[in-house]
Amino acid sequence: MKGLLPDLDLVRKDFPILERTFDGGETPLVYLDSANTSQKPQIVIDTMVDHLERHNANIARAMHHLGAEATEAFEGARDIVARFLGAPERDEVIFTKNASEGLNLVANTVPLAAGDVVVTTEMEHHSNIVPWQLATQRAGATLKWFGLTDDGQLDLSNIDELITPATKIVALTWVSNMLGTINPIAEIARKAHEVGALVVVDAAQAAPVLPIDLASMAEEERPDFLVFTGHKVVGPTGIGVLWGRRAALEALPPFLGGGEMIATVTMERSTYAPIPHKFEAGTPPIAEAVGLGAALEYLMHVGMENVHAHEQAITTYALERLATVPGVTVLGPADAAKRGGAIAFELDGVHPHDVAQVLDSKGVAIRAGHHCAKPAHQRFGVQASNRMSSYLYTTPAEIDALVEGLEYVRTFFKLDQ
């Protein structure tokens, strides 16, 4: 199959969990829930273990050997993240606890006043909706959003009504976690920048599969802020990244207070450290940053171009194969080139919970529900859906297992009777 990672077998060997079986060894794991969270290669686990067993100390503050080693490992991870994103400056990389915190950080600190408009889209993850609802409510500002076309693209027809001089923020996802859609963020950023709005890109689903090079983007098309989350890029939980343009980050007041984010503190008042530390209050997720560094090194070693090609090959194949199952309807773009690796679908006559449950009895792990994207589900008149999602370790045989599983679901629920 064209585009598949040539050494897919070797890649799979890097991920110990892929050897899991159920029912006393009879049923192998078929993990098709990577858009929910990705599995971890041994090198990420080993790097964290080595850190904890040999170099663990608090950072920045400590003068001693272990402190110096831990600081170097943590700040080294920041360098790796900067390289992964092609960030213009390494100090623009802020470590957060997940993507959601990054979005909340910006939504909580960006100045908003009554009459201001924040624009988002109907295909966002809740983490890129709720923070803006809370922020606009607090400020008396207005939340507006792009609707969706029937094939799951952003409906840009009213862009001139949405992006106006009143618009202060345009917050949107690069890749939808439900529909798989890849959005034209450059075009939207250009438009937003024309009216002086800040552009916040949720790259939680993009960072795992798209090569990103911020520095090479035209400045007017480059987002002002971008977030992603460690656990979806073969890294650990407990760590996420907010990248921001230096000037944009410097313009924000501090978010959380405490620990290492200060320059000086008296009981009366405090001054704050420069970025990135200004936004990293308290002891950061140190071992997690180190693990994230190892994860991104792993992905860069495989090559993000190759990861992307693999994802597209698997997605193409999955779309083809799903089309053969009676009663299956895929939501979102039909063209694999226009989407990431998440494929949401319905199976006529069986609720997604029940689909997922029966698939699980065959070892096939998919997600069922609203995938934290209720508005997008509502838009398409579905209350819940099934979602399979692949990653660099996914094989065509696993797609076959899903399809066989769906046939079994049809039999189990007697859909043909």
């Binding site: 919970h353 609203h370 209350q383 819940a384």
Partner: protein, 150 residues
């Protein structure tokens, strides 16, 4: 999970109730209406209770959800309509005991009737909430009804 477990969960009784739910639809009269959701999966139920003289005259509902949550609303309707509030609470408790018993509880068939079919569901932590959605909504609505009376 073995195929046996799967069969235990999706008993014929459950699938029958799912396909032909009893008492579905929203009806008048009612004293309280509640709307409950399962945040994890989005299953929803709107449920009305009509109590008269301490007796549950009707439970009417409109629900979106999986086979387990739908069948359980249907069984709830079967078991509880026509009972006094006190009797209904006893049934509710027995159902709760079954569902929270991690598959170790022997249900009382005299009390739960078709409800014993849910014994297999109790082995699946993720699905217990599905089975309990309508029961929790009913309890909430009944509490509201009683509160209004006083």
């Amino acid at each position: 999970m073995t195929a046996a477990n799967l069969e235990a969960m999706y008993q014929e009784i459950i699938l029958d109730h799912y396909k032909n739910p009893h008492g579905k639809g929203l009806r008048d009269p009612f004293e309280a209406e509640v709307h409950h959701v399962n945040p994890t999966c989005g299953d929803e139920i709107t449920l009305r209770v009509h109590v008269d003289g301490g007796k549950i005259e009707d439970i009417s509902y409109d629900a979106l959800g999986c086979s387990i949550s739908q069948a359980s609303a249907s069984v709830l309707n079967d078991l509880v309509v026509g009972k006094t509030v006190d009797e209904a609470m006893t049934i509710h408790e027995e159902f709760l005991r079954l569902m929270q018993g991690k598959g170790q509880v022997e249900p009382d068939e005299d009390i739960l009737e078709d409800g014993i079919a849910f014994a297999g569901v109790a082995k699946f932590p993720a699905r217990i909430k599905c089975a309990l959605l309508s029961w929790m909504a009913w309890k909430d609505a009944t509490a509201k009804t009683l509160a209004e009376e006083n």
